[in-house]
């Protein structure tokens, strides 16, 4: 893995996320946001990679990432999804959810909206009120779903529309959207729970779990095209692939390192590639793409096109083969997964990573941000 730029930034990075690209997709990723933790003053900062218009001999951008601006954040930044091109939502360890607006003209951030008591243990009215951290946020314009340690909240622009309290006696660790009104959460006893917001009532609809080991799961990500395929990473460093339509057990378990896996991400346009980062400072690239010759190469360029093409093939057996994600295949002989370590040396934990074709950014507890622009070189 060449061309990783490292920069020490004097704050431990908790989350880093690329800013979403406009739908025309004429540009590659250029801005990412980071949120820090464990400081007396934490910051949310957008950064830009490369000097605009400054090309080197290969036509790529030179130089490392530059800080655009920053804004103080109360509490650790627990999650940092982008609401849209200009707005970033943050979840804080103080239970506060904030929407920041990034003004690209004068490069400043400002608070657009804030819910300071989004999550708490006992209500604001009670004498034993104490705030609880907000552990995850997912956005689907115009809705925001925030997950605290024990509850969910659904909000739109103005206010929280729905709260599901005491949703879990164990603490939630992460959340993702399955299909639009349905979310999937993972918790500290190794369970995946789905919740459908269309349904009334507070019951979580479906529970899947690992074996009786009760190993906490820390992160979850959904396959970009096949929404029933979900990957989770746990405290013991095991990457699990699940099919939420069937069964209560994971489809496959892949052992990475011995330490907590903090984040797992499918590559958004190349979902046969998966990236994980762990507490022991490793950043891994899992490559499940196969080169079985009888499959057409077009199948691997994105889920939607493969579904379309498969219908035109007369051989029914092949249809099933191609639609099944390579991740779900349980035949080890056919699908070998290659793993590569992306960081040159290991020191402290890599807390967060994000992938946006063809760039990858990750942030560590050694107060460094690594960016690479050539993932599949």
């Amino acid at each position: 893995m060449e061309e990783i730029y490292a920069k020490f930034v004097s704050q431990k990075i908790r989350k880093t996320r690329w800013r979403p690209l406009p739908p025309e997709r004429l540009q590659t990723a250029e801005t990412f946001a980071t949120g820090s933790w464990d400081n007396e003053e934490n910051y949310v900062s957008p950064w830009s990679i490369g000097d605009f218009g400054n090309l080197d001999s290969d036509g790529g951008f030179e130089g490392d990432h530059q800080l655009l601006c920053d804004i103080r954040h109360h509490g650790d930044v627990m999650d940092l999804p982008s609401f849209d091109r200009e707005r970033i939502v943050t979840a804080s360890s103080t239970g506060c959810v904030t929407v920041f607006l990034h003004h690209p003209n004068n490069q400043t951030l400002s608070v657009n909206q804030q819910w300071t008591t989004a999550h708490y243990h006992a209500g604001p009215g009670s004498p034993s009120y104490s705030s609880a951290p907000c552990v995850g946020v997912v956005c689907n314009n115009p809705e925001i779903v925030t997950v605290g340690e024990h509850d969910h909240k659904e909000a739109d622009h103005k206010e929280a529309t729905r709260t599901i309290d005491n949703a879990d006696s164990n603490t939630f660790h992460a959340v993702t959207f399955l299909q639009t009104p349905e979310i999937l959460t993972v918790n500290s006893t190794g369970q995946l729970k789905t919740l459908d917001f269309r349904q009334q009532g507070n019951e979580l609809s479906h529970i899947l779990s690992l074996t009786s080991d009760r190993v906490p799961l820390h992160c979850v990500d959904r396959h970009p095209n096949q929404q029933h395929v979900v990957a989770t990473g746990g405290q013991d460093g095991i990457l699990s692939i699940w099919d939420v339509r069937q069964g209560t057990m994971p489809v496959s378990l892949l052992k990475a390192r011995e330490a907590e896996m903090w984040e797992v991400h499918f590559h958004p346009s190349n979902p046969d590639h998966l990236f994980t980062c762990s507490e022991d400072g490793s950043l891994w690239h899992w490559d499940a793409s196969t080169d079985v010759p009888e499959k057409l190469s077009l199948f691997h360029q994105g889920g939607r096109s493969s579904t379309f093409l498969s219908q035109s093939i007369s051989n029914q057996a092949n249809v099933h083969q191609s639609v099944i994600s390579s991740w779900l295949s349980t035949d080890p002989a056919k699908h070998r997964i290659e793993t590569t370590s992306l960081l040159p040396s290991r020191s402290l934990s890599v807390n967060s990573l994000d992938v946006l074709d063809p760039c990858l950014v990750c942030g560590t507890d050694a107060e460094a941000i690594y960016v690479t622009r050539y993932l599949f070189s």
């Binding site: 020490f8 930034v9 004097s10 704050q11 431990k12 908790r14 933790w37 464990d38 400081n39 007396e40 650790d76 627990m78 360890s93 243990h121 006992a122 034993s128 104490s130 609880a132 951290p133 340690e149 024990h150 005491n166 879990d168 006696s169 164990n170 603490t171 500290s188 006893t189 369970q191 529970i207 779990s209 009786s212 080991d213 009760r214 405290q235 330490a259 907590e260 507490e279 040396s345 020191s347 402290l348 934990s349 507890d365 050694a366 107060e367 460094a368």
Partner: protein
């Protein structure tokens, strides 16, 4: 106790009037707490209004500097790399690795210096600009010292190469301070000697060089004697300089910014093949000549002098005093230790100097809310006192979020610090209990394998059940698995839930025997027996006979046990009377149900099957 080397510095605390009132203080791990007391210094006992604040005083402010943080983080990576260098390597390859590490450290210092310089220029108010500039000069001095130590101690340049390295050293450091004039004096020399020294790939031996140089030197002397250049005073003084004449060199003092520049220039012309052990003589005299009795040597000068004298301990000692942060001495000493240059020198506290400095540095890191993670690795590489220090420090890290707690726990578990794991989990479990999150509390107790706390939490669960009639956190209790065995109370809780399940699935016989075993095996707490017996009621009232005669006898036994032990109440108020009423009604109902069941059981067991 050694004598102090200097007067301690006085720090004035704003708002505290030390003349009027006495102050009190207490030491913390990296800081001091100070406040005013109400004890007046004078004899009169008048109450003077005192300052209402408590002050936290920190000596080490560098830890809080944004730019220096980068230094700490990057050097942490280099430090780890150094520790992991294969011990097997010896000789040239090891030396080149160590030199590379030293250069890495230096480049990190330089990068930091660059950045601070930029900030100093861009600073808006002059006071902070000055502060940054002084930081820059401190960093520059650190790099100067480190570079010299690298040349003398790590590279261990032999005679001949030594001067080349020293030339580079001076050029690097002098040129950046005084770019115009130093170039004049510094750079014209190599052009004269370029062919002479034949830099890389030098195949000449030292003696050959020395011979050639002697020859050339004698030629210059002859020119001087013959007054060949007498007509041109500039050329003549140039000639004198090239002969290494000290007086001539000193005349150009403005061009030489400091005494070590003078030293190296002098060596270049008078003794270019100087041996390392002879350096100190030249160094001392250069310092004296340059200062000329006008000013006294500064701390930096003393440090450099000690380095030229190859007195490593003195270098480290002086640096420790002069610098405000342990970073420099800790890393330098560690590197020199890897070069096997430090004798193991027992200090008062039983560990050697390297370990002492690393411990001090790491403790300073732990005082910072964020940099404690770096400190952990430093403690790991202190063989004698590192583990103990880590144990003490890691318990005191404030745990605000679960994420941080998980990281701390991971650190403790990796090092088998079970006591610390237990204590941290207990803290988190207590927090959870206080927030009424019994499920989390139980999870934490299970992780810590803390039976006592698990019992406490299970009791809370059972009490809540008695009060509210339902369990909270069912998804946790129902899926305990083997963790159930941690404590008796927890096992009871799990089994009790199992009983509920069985009842729900209408497996009455199994439920009944489970219920009975819970009571007879005595894992059920006595306070809960009434509830258990009450749970047995619906089973007793069923159409079919569930409890056998044997079992019914045992139930009766339990009931008698329970009622006989109950203390006889004397006078009581209405509430207690009402409670008693309920109790007696329950007991009566139970007795009735048990008797009826017994009757039916005896009949059923006595009759033949099928009839």
């Amino acid at each position: 106790m050694e004598e102090l080397d200097g007067e301690p510095a006085v720090t004035v605390i704003p708002g505290v009037n030390s003349k009027k009132n006495q102050m009190c203080f207490d030491w913390g791990p990296g800081e001091m707490l100070v406040c005013e007391t109400s004890f007046s210094k004078k004899e009169k006992s008048e109450m003077v209004p005192s300052c209402p604040f408590i002050y936290i005083i920190r000596k080490d402010v560098d830890v809080y500097s944004q730019i220096l943080r980068k230094l700490f983080n990057e050097s942490h990576g280099i430090f780890l790399g150094l520790q992991r260098i294969d011990e097997e390597l010896t000789g040239k390859s090891r030396k080149s690795q160590l030199v590379r590490v030293s250069k890495n450290y230096r480049s990190v210092i330089r990068a930091c210096m660059e950045e601070m310089h930029q900030v100093a220029i861009a600073a808006k108010d002059p006071a902070s600009g000055r502060q940054f500039s002084s930081q820059v000069s401190i960093l520059s001095a650190m790099e100067l010292i480190w570079n010299l130590c690298e040349i003398l101690f790590i590279e261990v340049a032999p005679a001949g190469h030594l001067l080349l390295h020293l030339l580079d050293w001076v050029r690097l450091h002098v040129c950046e301070v005084d770019s115009l004039s130093a170039d004049v004096l510094g750079s014209e020399n190599p052009s004269n000697h370029g062919s002479f020294w034949n830099l890389p790939g030098n195949t000449q031996t030292l003696t050959e060089l020395e011979l050639k140089w002697q020859h050339w030197h004698e030629e210059c002397e002859r020119y001087l004697q013959d007054s060949t250049f007498a007509t041109n005073p500039h050329l003549e003084s140039l000639l004198k300089i090239m002969l290494g004449d000290e007086a001539a060199l000193l005349e150009q003092k403005e061009l030489l910014s400091n005494w070590y520049h003078f030293l190296v220039t002098r060596l270049l012309y008078s003794n270019p093949t100087v041996k390392p052990i002879d350096l100190h003589y030249y160094a001392q005299s250069s310092l004296d000549l340059f200062l000329g009795g006008e000013s006294s040597p500064e701390p930096l000068d003393n440090i450099l002098l000690a380095a030229f004298e190859f007195d490593i301990h003195q270098v480290i000692k002086e640096c420790s005093i002069a610098l405000s942060n342990w970073w420099f001495v800790a890393h330098l000493t560690d590197l020199l230790d890897h070069c096997k240059l430090l004798q193991s020198h027992n200090l008062y506290f039983g560990s050697n100097m390297r370990e002492f400095l690393l411990l001090e540095y790491a403790s300073g890191l732990f005082a910072h809310p964020s940099l404690w993670q770096l400190g952990v690795d430093y403690f790991d590489y202190c063989p004698k006192l590192g583990r103990v220090s880590l144990e003490l420090h890691i318990e005191r890290i404030p745990l605000n979020t679960e994420q941080k707690a998980l990281k701390v726990l991971r650190i403790c578990e990796q090092r088998q610090m079970t006591e610390q794991v237990r204590s941290i989990c207990k803290i988190l479990a207590m927090k959870a209990v206080r927030n009424n999150r019994l499920g989390s509390a139980l999870s934490w107790s299970i992780r810590a394998k803390d039976a006592a706390f698990a019992t406490l939490v299970s009791d809370r669960f059972l009490r809540d059940y008695c009060e509210r009639g339902c369990f909270s956190d069912l998804d946790l209790i129902d899926n305990l698995g083997p963790a159930m065995m941690l404590s008796d109370r927890l096992t009871f809780l799990g089994k009790y839930r199992e009983f509920h399940h069985m009842y729900g699935e209408k497996r009455f016989a199994d439920a009944a025997s489970l219920l009975l075993s819970l009571m007879t095996s005595r894992i059920a707490p006595r306070s809960f027996w009434m509830t258990l017996l009450t749970d047995a009621l619906p089973l007793l009232e069923q159409k079919q006979v569930i409890f056998s005669a044997e079992q019914t006898y045992e139930l009766m036994q339990c009931l008698e046990d329970l009622t006989s032990r109950r203390p006889v109440r004397g006078e009581s108020d209405i509430q207690q009377l009402q409670d008693e009423d309920i109790e007696t009604t329950k007991v009566e109902m139970l007795r009735l149900a048990l008797a009826r069941n017994l009757a039916r059981a005896i009949i059923r067991e006595g009759s033949l099957e099928g009839s």
